[in-house]
Symmetry: C2
Subunit: 406 residues, 2 copies
């Protein structure tokens, strides 16, 4: 059997929106699954219009949708309308997987939840993301990334001593929940191929966030101490820190004191009794104050260098370190440009024209991921899905549109 993509032939139906659920559908679509994305007629999903800002309006479309809903067939369907429900259940019969991250209770209220879907497709895999899981006192609350960052302890540990709890600059919990769902779906498909059984999958944003602080949870279990904001020195080794350079900042990692002394031209400090053990230099030793002294000593040197000069000199001594970059610098980074399977790819959008999209970081030698098409305008594939897939005639589709079904 010859297949172009790992997930060729896998059929996914979704009421996925905004980030977490949508990212999950995107990963499956990039690996070759056929994905039909359902939105409400008129306005589409929340992020298509959202607040003015979030949807990232661009030439009459939402850039967010163009970039997130790649490789998908975008259709509209009014799930509150009886005819909309019928069409939906026909699509459930077609599908292997259904994904949704709507507000809790929405699919049940519509009469289209897992129980209803199982009746027309007993093998369906029903995959959902909610803020607070399905069996907790908070299950009916809507959740979003940032609330999960707050509740999980992650914000409490981010930032500098003295600052308020700090959000991570990107919605990392949405992202984490999205891949966890995609992984779970693949496990469920694998299981179904062997047993014929479908199932339901529930990922909770709050769980995903608690999972991301895995290491700090352990630290608390072992030491009984509250994990604190450690600024940029996250590990025991004091040399792990952010250092100011002439043109920005660098970050270094790993304890290798002799190598650092050589790199900064301060060999006399290698055996200096004030610095010569990890305990003396580190957060966790008895001599806390030496940590700051170590960091100032290194920064006295980095301040006289550009980021590139500092990174080059440190790497020459085998020290792991990096430039801290802004987003525009990442786009210009030789790293970003060197990948054979590009991170940023140019694709033709049906109405916008050429548009730059970001590929997910999946690299499989035989079945590479691929962005074949940008996220489409609202209802762009109505005719194709209703006509070719479900067999509706043009005049029937026109009537459905008139009735507000699509």
């Amino acid at each position: 059997m010859a297949l172009d993509f790992a997930l060729d032939g896998v059929k996914v139906l979704g009421c996925h929106q905004v980030h977490a659920g949508a990212y999950s559908a995107r990963l499956l679509a990039e690996m070759g699954a056929e994905v039909i994305k359902i939105e409400r007629p008129g306005r589409g999903e929340w992020i298509r219009t959202g607040t003015a800002r979030d949807s990232l309006p661009y030439k009459g479309e939402s850039y967010y949708i163009a970039n997130m809903a790649v490789n998908q067939k975008c259709i509209t369907l009014n799930l509150a309308h009886q005819k909309g429900k019928e069409i939906f259940l026909r699509l459930v019969r077609w599908a292997d997987v259904f994904i949704e991250n709507l507000a809790p209770g929405t699919m049940k209220r519509l009469g289209l939840d897992f129980e209803a879907q199982k009746k027309v497709n007993p093998k369906i895999i029903y995959a959902s993301i909610k803020g607070y899981g399905h069996d907790t006192p908070y299950k009916d609350l809507r959740g979003v990334d940032y609330l999960a960052q707050g509740r999980s302890g992650l914000m409490d540990m981010t930032g500098f001593p003295g600052t308020p709890p700090t959000l991570c600059g990107a919605p990392i919990v949405d992202h984490h929940a999205g891949v966890l769902l995609a992984f779970s779906i693949m496990c469920a498909l694998y299981y179904r191929n062997r047993t014929g059984k479908g199932q339901s999958i529930g990922i909770a944003l709050t769980d995903a966030a608690i999972d991301e602080v895995f290491e700090q949870n352990m630290e608390y279990l072992v030491t009984g101490l509250v994990p604190r904001k450690r600024a940029n020195s996250q590990f025991g080794a004091s040399e792990t820190a952010v250092y100011k350079a002439k043109d920005g900042y660098i970050i270094s990692y790993i304890d290798n004191w002799p190598a650092i002394c050589r790199a900064i031209g301060r060999e006399e400090l290698i055996n200096d009794p004030r610095f010569n053990t990890l305990e003396k230099r580190g957060y966790w030793g008895p001599a806390f104050s030496m940590m700051e002294e170590v960091q100032y000593t290194i920064e006295d040197w980095t301040k006289t260098k550009t980021r590139d000069e500092a990174v080059e000199a440190l790497r020459k001594e085998g020290i792991m370190c990096e430039r801290i970059q802004s987003i525009p610098e990442v786009f210009e980074d030789p790293y970003t440009k060197a990948r054979k399977h590009k991170i940023f790819v140019e694709v033709e959008h049906p109405t916008i024209g050429k548009i730059t999209l970001q590929r997910s970081p999946l690299n499989l030698s035989e079945t590479p991921s691929q962005i074949k098409s940008a996220g489409a305008p609202l209802g762009y594939h109505n005719e194709e899905v209703l006509g070719k897939l479900l067999g509706y005639k043009s005049e029937e589709i026109a009537a459905l549109k008139k009735e507000g079904v699509i």
Copy 2:
């Protein structure tokens, strides 16, 4: 066919260590895959001993390993020794998947890379995580989470205006790369089941980090503006922020001005012309200064409440918000305790006794994940794997130990 776990029968061999690769193996193991973890004789993988701190020493073992290497068979094998290589290749023949996140070039130098493995098992899925991908000018550099956070732009956007670039408090890139690998492995297994073909998979930490700033990358592409540190107001709506309460902080999300005015007892502000549009209240409108005024107005109220009081009052008006919690509070949280499939579970460790471990947030109705055993002491399963699986006699195993092979 009746199976207890989604991945029953899937065989994984790994030289995974520390976080990213190890987390990937852990996810597969929790879903039921049989995982053999290879470490060097004597010291084990890096985190077993690591720096004193990172391994989290606890009753003579590494808590880190106990918690990370769950459901796995821990064996030692000297891959530099000819007999070690032979045993390794026998295990490759047994395996469906091989996982490693060693320093770049290690497996090749040992003569045990993908090419060598394919010769003994043409269907092997070879899955690796590296800092900088396999086809970039930086591919030979070792990478870790925090360097990827720096290079990707994530640090540049985290923190408050005026602070240096800020690390997210947890190694979220390691986590993200780990699930991406697990997802990729499942795609490759799915593909192999249909085509008989193995393949190699490479996830790069730097790619994973650039993927996590997906939204900000788009924002830059659309607006041409450098995404800045936005403190805790990540979205356009000014009410999305962190507010001080009597006993800590809360975080609120989403623009709903009338609801907030009602919640804080300031109904007169609902139609106040200084505040009555999103543009006036938000980051992105012409009246930037109103954003601070909005936030101070809300905080004047939250400061008089405890977190619970504030959250309850805001939720009553339909506003999404959350307590910001510390790690000890997360352990005591009714949410954490309510899950039917517990987040923190107690397991018997072979030498430590009872120990609390964290389950990954996977919830599948038919094939729930499960922590069956804690990560074992170094070489704990040598006899079982070499004896039962490969058929070595006790005296042969003793001889291998004497020769430093295991």
